[in-house]
C-alpha cells in the first residue's frame, strides 16, 4: 500500500536584516567588493521553506603586531607576513578570505600601547593593501578601544568598516563614531539572548540604522562552551524568524581566536597520545567549531588558519546548493 508523506513546513514571520560591509568607489569607498550577510527567512540552509539569499562568509583575523601568543602552527602558516598587517591582509585575500578582521593589538596599554595615530596608519595601509571589506577591533580594553576606534572610524570614512567590539560598557562612543562616519558596529554580549537583544535596542535608540549592526553573541570553542554559543545562537535565530525585531541582526563568531586558545590547538607538549596529530587536531578544532556554529546561524566566522578557509568554504558551498 503506497504511503504519502507530507513534509511539515514552517511559516516564518520574521527575517534577518541584511548588512553590507565595505563600500566600492561608487558608494564613496575604495573596496573592490562588498560583502552582504543576513537576509535569512529560514533556519540555516533549510531553503525548502524560506530564503537564504547570502551564504555565510569567512573573515580572516590579522593583527597589527607580531602575535607572540599565537600557536606556532599559525605563525608558521603565515610565515613572512605576521610582522606586517598590510602584507598579512593581502595574503588573507589571496587565500580566499571574504573579509579582513584587523585587531589593533599593538594599542594594548599593557603591550606596545601605540597611539590612535598609529592605528590610523595601520588601517590606511591595510585598506590600501586589500580590496576586501574590513572589520577593525580595538585591543579589547573599553577605554583604549574608544580612543583608537573613534580615530579609525574617521580616517576610514566612506569605507563602511565594522567597528568592534561595541559592548555594554562603551557602546555610546563606538556607536557615535559609527554614526558620524557611516561605519558599522559589532555588538558583543556574553552568551545570553536577552543581553544581545538589549544591546541592539540601546544601539538603535541612538539612531544607528539596524542594517549597520552585526551581533556577536560570544563564541565558545569546541570543548570550551561551544554548546552555550550554539544554543544561544539557535534561540536568537528562532526569535528573529518568529518576528522579534531586535534579534534580527546577522551573527558573527570569533571562531579562530577561541579555537586556537584551546589547549588542544595551542600546544603539543605533555598532551595525551589519544589527542592525535597536533596539526590535524588543531585544524579540526577550528573547522569543527566553525561548521557547528554555521549550523546554528553564524553569518560571519572569523578564522585564523589559512587552511581552514578552504574546508569551511567547501562546507558552506555544499550546504548552499539547492
Amino acid at each position: 500500500m503506497p504511503v504519502t508523506v507530507n513534509v511539515p513546513k514552517e511559516k516564518w514571520a520574521g527575517k534577518v536584516r541584511e548588512v553590507t560591509l565595505g563600500a566600492t568607489t561608487d558608494a564613496g569607498g575604495t573596496r573592490k567588493k562588498t560583502v552582504t550577510v543576513g537576509g535569512e527567512s529560514t533556519l540555516p540552509f533549510l531553503t525548502f521553506e524560506g530564503e537564504m539569499p547570502n551564504p555565510p562568509v569567512i573573515a580572516i583575523e590579522i593583527q597589527d603586531r607580531y602575535p607572540d601568543d599565537w600557536s606556532e602552527l599559525l605563525l608558521t602558516a603565515w610565515d613572512g607576513v605576521v610582522n606586517n598587517a598590510a602584507e598579512w591582509a593581502q595574503k588573507a585575500e589571496e587565500y580566499g578570505a571574504d573579509i579582513v578582521a584587523l585587531k589593533l593589538q599593538s594599542a594594548h596599554t599593557e603591550g606596545d600601547n601605540t597611539s590612535a595615530a598609529h592605528a590610523i596608519d595601520t588601517v590606511k595601509a591595510v585598506l590600501k593593501a586589500t580590496g576586501l571589506p574590513l572589520i577593525v577591533y580595538g585591543p579589547g580594553q573599553p577605554e583604549k578601544d574608544n580612543e583608537v576606534l573613534v580615530a579609525v572610524a574617521e580616517a576610514a570614512k566612506g569605507e563602511r568598516i565594522a567597528l568592534g567590539n561595541c559592548e555594554d560598557k562603551n557602546y555610546r562612543t563606538i556607536v557615535a563614531a559609527a554614526l558620524a562616519h557611516d561605519q558599522l558596529v559589532v555588538a558583543k554580549t556574553p552568551i545570553d539572548v536577552n543581553l544581545a537583544k538589549q544591546l541592539n535596542i540601546l544601539i538603535s535608540d541612538m539612531r544607528l540604522d539596524l542594517d549597520r549592526i552585526l551581533m556577536d553573541p560570544t563564541t565558545g570553542a569546541l570543548g570550551y562552551g561551544l554548546e552555550y554559543s550554539y544554543s544561544v545562537m539557535e534561540r536568537l535565530r528562532l526569535a528573529a524568524l518568529t518576528g522579534d525585531s531586535m534579534t534580527q541582526q546577522p551573527m558573527i563568531c570569533t571562531v579562530g581566536e577561541e579555537a586556537w586558545r584551546a589547549k588542544e590547538s595551542k600546544v603539543n607538549e605533555g598532551v595525551p597520545a589519544a589527542w592525535g596529530d597536533w596539526a590535524k587536531r588543531s585544524a579540526n578544532w577550528e573547522v569543527i567549531t566553525a561548521t557547528t556554529l554555521i549550523h546554528s546561524g553564524a553569518d560571519i566566522v572569523v578564522l585564523r588558519h589559512p587552511d581552514s578557509i578552504k574546508l569551511v568554504r567547501q562546507t558552506i558551498d555544499d550546504l548552499m546548493v539547492q
Binding site: M1, P2, V3, T4, V5, N6, V7, P8, F45, L46, F48, D69, E110, G140, G220, L222, G223, Y224, G225, L226, E227, Y228, Y230, S231, E234, R235, L238, R261, A262, K263, E264, P272, A273, A274, W275, G276, D277, W278, K280, R281, A283, N284, W285, V287, I288, T291, T292, H295, S296, L311, V312, Q314, T315, D318, L319, M320, V321, Q322
Partner: protein, 447 residues
C-alpha cells in the same frame, strides 16, 4: 502525543470495579493520563484498548538498541528539535567502517585500534562505539569470516553492511546473538532481510534513494513482518540534502506524529567527501543535526577526539551544566610563591578562567570551589559560593601546604565577600581580582 484522561476512559471497561485500586474507571483514566498508574492494574482491559494505549504512549522516535551488554548503543527517543527546548538524550553512535577486502592482518589491526581507543575529557571517558563491516568482497563466506574475526576481538556493537541476504545470513551466523545492526533492507530485499532481523533479534536499517514516501512504505511492510527495531537511511549523501532529509524525519516524528518514520537515522560521512578533514565536518553537521548512527570511513585520533568532544558538548543537558571536579588545579607548573586564584566549578566558568590563566603563561594555583555547578554570581546569590565555602576549600584541598604565602584572589564579581573571607581565613590577605576572566592575564602581570 499521550492521550487525555477522557480519551483513555473511553477505552476502559467503565464498570467501576475498583480492582485497579481507584474508585472509578474515570479516576483510573486520569491517573493513567498523568502517568501515575499502570494500565496492567486493570484486569479487564481489552486487547484492543491495550494496543491503542500502548501505541499512544510510545515515544515519537523509537529507542533502538544496537549490540548487547555494557557496550550496547541506544539511539532514538529524542523529543525536541533544538537542544535548548529540553535536551538531546541519546548521542549518535560513532562507528568506523572496515571492508572485508582488507587483508586479514590490516583488518584485525584496525579492529584493535578502534576498540582500544579511549580519551578522557572533564573526567568522562569518551570512546567510539563500534565497527561497521562491509561486504565489499561480494563473497558470503569471506564476509562471515571477517565478522567472526571482529567478534573474536571485540565486544563492541557491529553494523553489518551487505545487500545480499545470503552474505548477511552468513555474517549473522557469526555474531552469536549480539544484535548487530543489519544494513540494509531495501525495496528489493526487505523480505529476506526482515526475516534475518527477526531470526537474530537484530535491529534492521532500511534504505531508500531519497524518497521519504517510498521509505515509509518499506517501513510499513517490514513492520507488517513483525520487525520493529528500525533505523532509517533516507539515502541522500550530500551535505544540504542530508540536512534537509534528517530535519524532515525529525519534524515528521515530533510535529506530525508520523509513526512510520519515527525511527533513528544512519549516515555515512565518508560517502560524498574527499578527505578525512572534510568527512569530519560532515560528521560534525550530523552530530548537531539529527543522526542516530554515524559511520565514518576514517579512523584517526586527531579527528575522533574533536568529534567525541563535539558529541559531548551537543548532548550535554542544558539544564544540568557539566561540573568540573572541585580541587586545587595546577596551571603551568606553579611554585610555592605563585598566585592563588579562586573560582567556581561551573564548567564554563572554569574553562574561561583556566583558559585565560593558561593563555597568560603565568604559573598559577587555581582553587575550584564546589559551587554545585553554579557560576560566580549565581553561586554567590544561592549561598553556594561564599566566604565559608571558599575557606573550607582552602583547608580541604590542603592549600597552605602547597604555597608559601597567604594571599588569595577572589573574582571581582564577589568583592563584597572579602570582609567575611578575612574573618574565615585569619591572617590571609584577600585580594579582589578582575570581574571578567578576560582581564586575568593583565591582572596576573601585576602580581
Amino acid at each position: 502525543m499521550g492521550l487525555s484522561g477522557l480519551e483513555i476512559y473511553k477505552l476502559l471497561p467503565k464498570t467501576n470495579c475498583k480492582e485497579c485500586g481507584f474508585p472509578t474507571c474515570l479516576a483510573f483514566a486520569m491517573k493513567l493520563a498523568a502517568k501515575q498508574a499502570e494500565l496492567s492494574a486493570c484486569p479487564y482491559v481489552s486487547d484492543e484498548a491495550k494496543a491503542a494505549l500502548e501505541a499512544a504512549s510510545a515515544p515519537p522516535i523509537r529507542l533502538v538498541t544496537i549490540g548487547t551488554g555494557e557496550n550496547k548503543v541506544e539511539v532514538g527517543n529524542e523529543t525536541v528539535l533544538f537542544r535548548h527546548e529540553k535536551t538531546f538524550y541519546h548521542p549518535p553512535g560513532l562507528f568506523v567502517r572496515l571492508k572485508d577486502t582488507l587483508s586479514m592482518a590490516e583488518f584485525e589491526s584496525a579492529v584493535d585500534q578502534v576498540g582500544a581507543y579511549s580519551v578522557e575529557r572533564v573526567g568522562i571517558e569518551l570512546r567510539p562505539d563500534g565497527l561497521a563491516i562491509e561486504n565489499a568482497s561480494g563473497d558470503a563466506a569471506t564476509f562471515g569470516q571477517y565478522v567472526a574475526a571482529a567478534r573474536a576481538k571485540t565486544d563492541q556493537p557491529l553494523v553489518l553492511i551487505a545487500s545480499d541476504p545470503t552474505a548477511m545470513a552468513a555474517a549473522l551466523e557469526k555474531t552469536d546473538g549480539s544484535a548487530p545492526l543489519i544494513y540494509a533492507a531495501t525495496a528489493d530485499n526487505w523480505e529476506a532481510m526482515a526475516e534475518l532481523a527477526a531470526k537474530h533479534k537484530a535491529p534492521l536499517a532500511l534504505k531508500n534513494d531519497g524518497d521519504l514516501s517510498a521509505l515509509a512504505s518499506i517501513v510499513e511492510q517490514v513492520k507488517g513482518a513483525g520487525v520493529e527495531d528500525l533505523i532509517l537511511d533516507p539515502g541522500v549523501r550530500d551535505k544540504h540534502d542530508s540536512l534537509v532529509a534528517l530535519t524532515h524525519l525529525r519534524r515528521l516524528a515530533l510535529k506530525s506524529s508520523f509513526r512510520l518514520l519515527g525511527y533513528p537515522t544512519i549516515v555515512f560521512t565518508g560517502e560524498g567527501t574527499d578527505s578525512q578533514a572534510e568527512e569530519a565536518t560532515v560528521a560534525a553537521q550530523h552530530i548537531a543535526k539529527y543522526a542516530g548512527i554515524i559511520v565514518l570511513d576514517h579512523f584517526d585520533p586527531a579527528t575522533m577526539y574533536p568529534l567525541l568532544t563535539l558529541r559531548l558538548n551537543i548532548y550535554t543537558d542544558p539544564q544540568k551544566p557539566i561540573q568540573v571536579s572541585p580541587g586545587l588545579y595546577e596551571i603551568s607548573e606553579p611554585q610555592p610563591d605563585s598566585p592563588l586564584l579562586v573560582t567556581t566549578n561551573f564548567s564554563l566558568t572554569y574553562f574561561s578562567v583556566a583558559g585565560e590563566v593558561e593563555g597568560s603563561g603565568r604559573p598559577t594555583w587555581l582553587l575550584v570551589v564546589d559551587s554545585e555547578g553554579m557560576s560566580v554570581l549565581t553561586g554567590w546569590a544561592a549561598g553556594k559560593f561564599d566566604a565559608e565555602k571558599i575557606a573550607k576549600s582552602v583547608q580541604q584541598y590542603d592549600v597552605p601546604s602547597k604555597i608559601n604565602h597567604k594571599k588569595v584572589v577572589i573574582p571581582g564579581l564577589v568583592s563584597t565577600i572579602s570582609g567575611e573571607l578575612e574573618e574565615e581565613l585569619p591572617g590571609w590577605e584577600i585580594l579582589v581580582g578582575p570581574r571578567e576572566a578576560i582581564h586575568i592575564p593583565a591582572y596576573l602581570k601585576t602580581w
